[in-house]
Symmetry: C2
Amino acid sequence: MASADLLDTLTPMIVPAILPWIAPVQSGMQAVEARLRQAAADEHILLTAVIDGLLRAGGKRVRPALCLLSAGSFDADFENAVVVAAGIELLHTATLVHDDLIDGASMRRSAPTLNSTWDPDAAVLAGDYLFSRAANLVLQAGDLKVMELFVRTLMVVLNGEIAQRFSRWQIDRKEYYQRIYAKTAAMFVLAMQAPAILAQAESELLEAIVEYGHDVGMAFQIVDDVLDISGSIEQVGKPIGSDLRQGLFTLPAIIYAEANPDDADLLVVLNERDGNHPAIERLIEKVRRAGAVEAAMEEARRLAAQGQSALARLPDSVYVSGMFALAETVVKRQG
Amino acid sequence: MASADLLDTLTPMIVPAILPWIAPVQSGMQAVEARLRQAAADEHILLTAVIDGLLRAGGKRVRPALCLLSAGSFDADFENAVVVAAGIELLHTATLVHDDLIDGASMRRSAPTLNSTWDPDAAVLAGDYLFSRAANLVLQAGDLKVMELFVRTLMVVLNGEIAQRFSRWQIDRKEYYQRIYAKTAAMFVLAMQAPAILAQAESELLEAIVEYGHDVGMAFQIVDDVLDISGSIEQVGKPIGSDLRQGLFTLPAIIYAEANPDDADLLVVLNERDGNHPAIERLIEKVRRAGAVEAAMEEARRLAAQGQSALARLPDSVYVSGMFALAETVVKRQG
């Protein structure tokens, strides 16, 4: 695949920012893309079409890029790293399909969701199939420990999603950090740790790369949550304030609520627990205008810098420089 | 666990019939039951409660019993066979949770389904979690080939379910056989083949056990489909004729339709494609009264006998005798 084709698959807006860190793994990313496209080629024609559509819709491919950067830094086998990277991206896609179904979301990546275009039942099965296909890809690396890590990560993600269902309309910073770990950082850790296991890296180096994955994953999700509040519908590809409408208090809203516990709209929102209540719109506006957005971004930048400092414990390489640049990009992205 | 407790977990009606073949693997089945109960002990309290409830509701535990019989006949490692058997039962449970959700079913095993008591969204996540936990169990056997077979089987099951969604209101015997292979026989094959792989069985023996699993699995599903037409609500634990109401022509209905292509109710049903149309009730009654039920049972008995004859290629043992008896039970069961 030509490099221009690869770039077509990335969300156009972030391509310029992505380039500095994607450069060292560009050929690997093309191999990942080819693996992803194969992943649905030989099944029921409608399943193939749906999965192909999901993959064409793009996404930032941050997880496979991280996985390949880690593989480069540990000199892991290229082919094995590529299938693991593709498997992680497919796992991520599977969780998005079921998330959108559960949230009743109609938009993702500026495109209609599977549950809104196909039908919700088919979205259940297509998501299930993507889980199994993702596992099938990772198995091709032939490493039981990597497969165990992959499955344990999926358990963490799912247990976190179930816990989230029972923590709506609650303001709890500790619960928020647990939630974004399960939702995002756990899979970033998987992406960094799997190649280190493939390459049988020393435990000190493994710990450093796990710390980096954790910190950058947490920062990535905080930025995502900030954009849900502060962005425009064009930037995030879905309606603004959707978290709060679903009763999920993310970091900006938590910071605002902690600073303004007696805000009248906040009290109404917590009392009514109704995503369509007019007080929700007013609360979203207040969080946008307050310093809460900037304070949350400050926390994201702190985590990204902490992740960068963990990289100092790894031997210097073009791949580690790529990780360093990626941590930078994560907290600067606009969509 | 005492043997009486184990029997409590089986559907009461079929316990007497099950006893002859379960005897050689009774201690293994108790170990499987213990593993299943552990499988949800350490997660979000509501997830734990839901999975425990699903497992307590019982089910026939045919797949783990088959797996243990195969393990006994090949002298596979006991602990590894137990985790694989438990993983297969959990995989089966996961597919049921999503099936019931998709079908909008409100009853299963004479009890309310998860989607009707908890909520549909939670049923998506609980099913996903069960998939990951099932994979986690099978991984504990430490065999990559077994894990590959497990994941490939899941892909077959899911691709089959998706194909089924696009084959409603069609009378196609070939498609029916493909469908019941994907739905049931593939998992029976997994249960028989996995222990043979664990024990590194010779290829001739492996082929024989795969044939047995295939044939008994096909027979099992045909009997299930016959009971859906010919049984009582007490026997099958859910409303009668539910397949046909969903547009799924199973073997008895296919046999009836092949023999009576001009039946007025049949033509209305195929034309209207409406599960609530009064012609459906009349068609179900006709299929019940015609020789179609007996002809379908004849096909199930033929397949079960074919599976039994494959067993002649295995060294004689108490486990092989158990498999022989199980093939008998499958075509005699009433629920």
